[in-house]
Amino acid sequence: MDLNVISINFKFMIGGLFLTFELALMTMGGGLLIGIILAMARLSLRPWLYYPATVYIHFFRGLPLILVIFWIYFLSPVITGKSLEAFPAAVISFIVFESAYFAEIIRSGVQSISRGQTMAAHASGLTAYQTARYVVLPQALRNMVPSLVTQSVIIFQDTSLAYVIGLREFLRRVNLVDAREARSVELYLFAGLVYFAICSAGSLASHRIEKQRERSYH
């Protein structure tokens, strides 16, 4: 064991972690936003909203993420005529893919709210939008928090897949250092430790939120 290899390259490797976080956070933000829209469309009674959203969700949930990354990276230049940089390509593929998962989490969260709540809101004259905004979504979001955190942890882990299009995120940088220093054992143990620490912090936070929710509703 030679831990020097880690301390010497620490700055370079941790620098990749910023990119990892950036990718994960942008995916969560964009995925959540598009996920809400998809979920609303999927819950809609209008067929022209329901069917496209349902097809979209089933389609992307049936594909491996790595394939979607390849598609966006290699197909978008063919369609738009301009080649995409690795980072925007990764962000787009992640959002496209993860929004399908977020949509299903949100849909089941919304469906967990009883029909009586919607009825009471409608009966008081609130529009469909106001009912969603003030009555259904605040309650549904609260029910969804554990699943959303779990999904976010998965996204964080999955960012490492962006290495296939050459994105120099954390794992890719560890990989590069290893190619130069040939110290696989130390370097990959270190990488595992970093992922584990961050992901368990996320899971722990989720667990606490759940506990808090059990204690009181507000």
């Binding site: 009883s114 009586g116 709540q117 009825m119 009471a120 809101a121 409608h122 009966a123 008081s124 004259g125 609130l126 529009t127 106001q130 003030y134 009555v135 605040p138 309650q139 609260r142 509703y217 507000h218």
Partner: protein
């Protein structure tokens, strides 16, 4: 005034929940609807404020046709208060927030004014001290009184009650009925689905008995209890009146 003409409602799978119901309810009156479960009482209430889409017939609320696409259904609903069997208070809001949501969002009242008005209503239902509590901290009777205050906050012309005391413990029924009795005496137009025959005797101007989606019998307070015309009504009354 509410005019119901030839109303029929089918739920999917062909179940006929309402069968050619015709009825007129004059302003300021209290009408009690009773009948066995599944007889279409609650469906009828939900048709009146457009929560249920019916296939045949027409309903006019103050001359506005409920299912006419030209009718502003949100405006119409905001003038009709509704109280539910299971309260349906919003669990993530305090009693105060439950009451002020629609006045602020639908009537565009300033928050301050809406809150002052809510406080008045909470005093009227005798629980001003519960204003900042969440529904889960309230007893069943208190929840239903908050729900009534929430409906009244929109200054409705009509109040619909869908079995308002059926989910309550016996000792809490009275406190809710008292609020409803004072509303009725105050001249509110009320349609109440209930099996509280004491309440019906006390304030109902008219009592309607429904079975299998039809109105079997209707009568004034006295005639309904003392001289029920149909056998079906007599059976029903003998079962619920000990």
């Amino acid at each position: 005034m509410i005019k119901i003409k030839g109303l029929s409602l089918w739920y999917n799978k062909g179940f006929k929940a309402l069968d050619n119901v015709t009825e007129t309810i004059e302003t300021g009156r209290t009408v009690v609807i009773c009948g066995p479960s599944g007889s279409g009482k609650s469906s009828l209430l939900r048709c009146i404020n457009g929560l249920e889409h019916f296939q045949e017939g027409e309903i006019f609320v103050d001359c506005l046709s409920v299912q006419d696409p030209k009718t502003d259904i949100h405006k119409l609903r905001s003038d009709i208060g509704m109280v539910f069997q299971h309260f349906e208070l919003y669990p993530h809001m305090t009693a105060m927030q439950n009451i002020t949501l629609a006045p602020i969002r639908v009537r565009q009242k300033p928050k301050r004014e809406a809150e002052e008005n809510a406080m008045e209503l909470l005093k009227r239902v005798e629980i001003p001290e519960q204003a900042l509590k969440y529904p889960e901290e309230l007893s069943g009777g208190q929840k239903q009184r908050v729900a009534i205050a929430r409906a009244l906050a929109m200054e409705p012309k009509i109040m619909l009650f869908d079995e308002p005391t059926s989910a309550l413990d016996p000792e809490m029924i009275k406190e809710v009925l008292e609020v409803m009795i004072s509303l009725s005496r105050g001249g509110m137009t009320m349609i109440v689905v209930t099996h509280e025959m004491g309440f019906a005797r006390e304030v109902a101007d008219e009592i309607i008995f429904m079975s299998n989606g039809r109105i079997i019998e209707k009568g004034t307070n006295r005639s309904f209890f003392d001289h029920p015309k149909s056998e079906r009504t007599r059976q029903f009354l003998s079962r619920i009146l000990i």
